[in-house]
């Protein structure tokens, strides 16, 4: 009897040990994301062939995104400046810099990054998410982390050793960026009221529908078509900028030639790109104030005042903005859309339909170090 028991116990121990060893030496597992389905109206997207979307990479990326271990002082995580409830912005005009003071730019919403421009940051200086992810980690004002040190720190963690092994096989700076990119690619917002409207599952109010029409129309006084012209840059379904070439960057009339920041010109060296910035997504725009690359506008009302009659003319101002005028006969004192207060309010009402509560509270995107996951 005892013998039987011992044999069973030994067998059990051997099995457990074998499993532990096997689990440590086996290669990565690539489990496709369960139930993945993207709205087809968002259009085509491509995931780098060497970094497919997998459950393992997503889980790892989510941990890294929320872990201050990524910063030199172990106090700043990506989520410090990219807060889920604020559609992954930080609610500040300009994000705080590590040594004190503030960064040059306002934090950007991380939503639907699978689509839209294939360049990242306000000035488009990163050409892939993978390339982008290393930048804040190493930047002295942001996370100020040495990559070698980061890898050493991660090696010391059993959890990370396991997660990296499952996702990619080994811990490396490159795999950190891959995992972060996978997490960010999965930040898909497609359940706002507008999305449900597109699917035929919700009705917009009269004011929201009026705003939607204005958003989608280029004004043409010849045929009495009133429009806000937004779709010319903020595309119809995603509301982000266009993907092709540099079409997703433009100058929307914030500054005069004298004050115009370099913007995209800093990256391309082309003076025609001076003052060009990335046309951002307007998804969840109601929760991402303040607005523009430097957070200069506090409210959507201020944004609309800008487009309505506050456009500042400069050499590279978008002709689409210069042309779009609902009341050209009203004199040339100001440049803007010259819509009625009702029309402006309708566009703002439409912008509120872009808020996706599900996305802002989805527990799959939340801090894995808190709560039950």
């Amino acid at each position: 009897m005892l013998r039987v028991f011992l044999t069973a116990a030994v067998a059990g121990v051997i099995a457990a040990t074998t499993w532990v060893i096997w689990d440590r030496v086996r290669g990565p597992t690539a489990t496709p994301i369960a139930g993945f389905s993207a709205p087809f109206v968002f259009g085509r997207f491509a995931v780098p062939p060497d970094n497919p979307l997998t459950e393992e990479a997503f889980a790892l990326g989510r941990h890294l995104f929320y872990d201050p271990i990524l910063s030199g002082n172990n106090q700043v995580s990506c989520a410090t400046c990219h807060v889920q409830a604020l559609a992954f912005t930080d609610g500040l005009a300009k994000s705080p810099a590590l040594p004190g003071g503030e960064l040059e730019f306002s934090s950007m919403s991380l939503t639907n990054l699978l689509w839209g421009q294939e360049r990242f940051f306000w000035d488009g200086r990163a050409t892939s998410l993978e390339a982008q992810a290393l930048m804040p980690i190493q930047h002295p004002d942001e996370m100020d982390q040495d990559l070698g040190e980061l890898v050493t720190e991660l090696q010391a963690s059993r959890d990370y050793r396991r997660m990296f092994r499952k996702a990619y096989g080994e811990i490396s700076a490159e795999n950190v960026t891959r995992a972060l990119s996978t997490f960010m690619r999965m930040l898909i917002s497609s359940d706002s009221k507008y999305d449900r409207f597109l699917r035929g599952k919700a009705r917009l109010s009269e004011q929201e529908e009026h705003g939607r029409k204005l958003f989608m129309a280029h004004p043409d006084t010849k045929v009495s078509l009133r429009g806000g012209n937004c779709i010319d840059c903020h595309s119809q379904f995603l509301t982000s900028g266009f993907r092709d070439a540099l079409d997703g960057f433009s100058n929307n009339g914030l500054d005069s030639d004298g004050d115009l920041p370099d913007g995209l010109m800093a990256v391309t060296g082309n003076p025609a790109h001076k003052g060009f910035f990335k046309v951002p997504t307007l998804r969840n725009i109601a929760v991402t104030a303040p607005y523009m690359h430097d957070g200069r506008f506090e409210t959507l009302e201020e944004v609309m005042d800008h487009y309505n009659d506050g456009i500042v003319v400069s050499d590279t101002l978008s002709p689409l903005i210069l042309e779009a005028d609902n009341a050209p006969e009203a004199g040339q004192g100001t440049v803007g859309l010259r819509m009625t207060p009702d029309e402006v309010q309708s566009i703002i009402a439409f912008l509120h339909t872009l808020t996706d509560e599900d996305f802002l509270t989805n527990t799959q995107f939340s801090n894995p170090f808190e709560g039950d996951s």
């Binding site: 496709p32 994301i33 993945f36 389905s37 993207a38 709205p39 087809f40 109206v41 968002f42 259009g43 085509r44 997207f45 491509a46 995931v47 497919p52 979307l53 699978l114 689509w115 839209g116 409207f197 597109l198 699917r199 035929g200 599952k201 919700a202 009705r203 045929v223 779709i231 010319d232 595309s235 119809q236 379904f237 995603l238 266009f242 993907r243 092709d244």
Partner: protein
Amino acid sequence: MKVKVFAQSVLIGAGLLMVGLTPAQSQTREESQGMVLLRGLPTLDTKHSIAIVELDPESDQFGELLSEVEQPDIQHPLHHLYYSPNGRLYSTGLDPSCSLAEIGLSRDSSGTPVIEGFTCLDTQGQIVGEDIMWATSNGQEYMFVTFMGGTGGDDGGSVGVFDTQTNEVVKIIEARKSQVGEGEPYIMYPHGISAFDDRMVVTSTIHPDMATGVGNVLTIIDLNTLEPIQNIVVENEKPLDFPSSPVEVLFARPDMHADIEPAILANTMFGFETWKIPYDTGSKTFGEAEVIYSGVANETAVPLEFYGTEDELFISHGLPGVVKRYELAALPELVSSGPDIVADPGAHHMIFFTSASGRNLIAVQNNLLNLGNAADDDPTDVDFIADLSAHTITIHDLETGERIAEVNFKERYNKGVDNVEGLFGSGFVHHH
């Protein structure tokens, strides 16, 4: 008999709708993947399906079906494909059990297009769905669908007005010839549909059983009241000794091109003609209907579709299988803009797209009908008709018309190809 079978086949196989494709303001163009409706051929034991086919001859996957969903339960196949302005995909159908359907599309985690399936919609008894368009009545947008069978009967036919969100029927526009007073406007066997301002036009084509009756008028509908207000006869030569059977219409209008004077263009399936009816915007009246293209004089037959690009209008002619091209800006006159694009017999629906290297291409679907096998006593196996169905999609250079490649669906998939008029994705939106 031949003519009857011919008519039936043309109508079943032929989409005969009138749409143009223009690039939408969208970044989502799927450059070269066509949505096709394939018809199962009973004698070859294949089933109807909706599929996505790669049409770029430069692609390794040229001619491959990237995704396909079969429709085993439907006797007659789906018929036409239309993207709504909000990017939802709809199809009309010839089977009474599915006269109108919404098709589900999505993408998997590699970005690959997936057809998820389709849902047949409640049409409240309206059958034989043909064309769809989205238009506004009193500031509210609706989906308008022509039902050639309408709610049934010898002089049936209806225009269904649907809620664009819920797909529910809001109104059935009907006016039976036998019930309206003498000389009052009627709607019968409607097929083509187009609109400008507050005027909509539908055609009166042929009873779906192909035997009961053939039409020869256009019906004008007032979009304010959603009631028919006028009939316009479009009949002249009768090469087949049948009523003219107008099929597709295009309300040529300034928002297609600023230089266009508004007028209705209509193709007559059995008259082989293209008609023009000028419209006066001020008085909201239509002028004299006149023939501006004669198939008899030009040795073409069965004029079918109207499609537009930014600067040209294309009209397909089933026989001998050509697509004629015209200056868009010159409409409503038909001013040639280049030599015919020589496709295959049955030249019908088409799409415009670019190849990987940026070459502008046009793909023409060549199929009016689908043929059985004489050995099975299938009445559609008639030589004259056989000539009308190549079962191919031919791909041509858009500038020169030069034929570059073809996909033969019958050879490759044992199926007929009924339709190609949309690309996958919402990058192209149909315009009537």
